[in-house]
Amino acid sequence: TCRVSMSMAEIRAGFTAIKANIQSRDPIRTLSILSHPHSLHKVKSSDRCCITHQLFTFYVDKVFKHCRTEDSFVNRKISSIANSFLSVRRKLGQCREQNNCVCGEESTEKFKQILANYEGLNVTSAAMKSLGELDILLDWMEKSR
């Protein structure tokens, strides 16, 4: 398993400060990027390290850059979260290499589903929805610590 010291509290505080603003920009309430069709909680513990790294890469590579807003406060908080994700992803990557975290079939399938959900929407809507679901990821990470 990957025990990565990360300032969850800082990421959580940054997200909480903009959660309402971001979620108000997501008109499609019937769809979920992270939880459709199955919740993250179904992922086996042996797959957790790999899918966490994949999800952090997903947010860094695909999500944050499409979330720029007209609101300076929101942009600063997104920058804070994005830079924290970058720092954590680096540690997760090192951890995966050291522990040779294997990506099981289940987590690979789960991550493919998340990408399919994401690509099913136009990029800005998908990015905003993914950012608005950040607490789903944070909750899952804290529960599975």
């Binding site: 800082e10 860094v60 920058s79 720092s87």
Partner: protein, 204 residues
Amino acid sequence: DALLPAPQSISILSTNMKHFLTWSPVIIQGATVRYSVEFQGEYEREYANGSWIPIPECSLTTATLCNITQDISASVAYKLRVRAELGASRSPWATTEGFFNRATTSLTPPTLRVLADGHHLLVELADMGPSFQFRVLYWRKGQESRVQQKVLEEVSSVVHLDTMEAGAEYCVKAQAHVEAINRSSSFSPTQCVRAQGDTSMWLV
């Protein structure tokens, strides 16, 4: 009109996870020069086309200091820049040389006050901010090999450390720890107090 010179001597002061950008003033006789500050994290450099993010609290400010703590909120490499503004004219940007990572902040030992309240050994620690925990070591004088430890996640008021033996002397020291950067300060100077002597009444 003559180009406004860029601010000089730009530098970052960082102590106990509080970070400030400072620069030398741009002097224009009879005019009030203002300044604007922007920051760029590693994410902006690598994934957002090298974009910069303004800091509204330090936009068009006359100060030559900007509190950047709120924006330096990840353990990655940041760059900062500042420019002078006078009316419609703007100076070139002055950008920090190299990068700044909050992991390099200087950490000072905590300020503490040790109290003996009868037989109770108490300690009071000055608040250092949300990122800080404290490691408190305490021992009975003369029994340095039997040091005890208490880790305080956050600073509340007075903390009870131990119940002391009558008349004995106890010593305490503490260090600050920041989990986000996985570093600790040096220890504070040791402080010792003596427990109240035994005042049990003898009935004759």
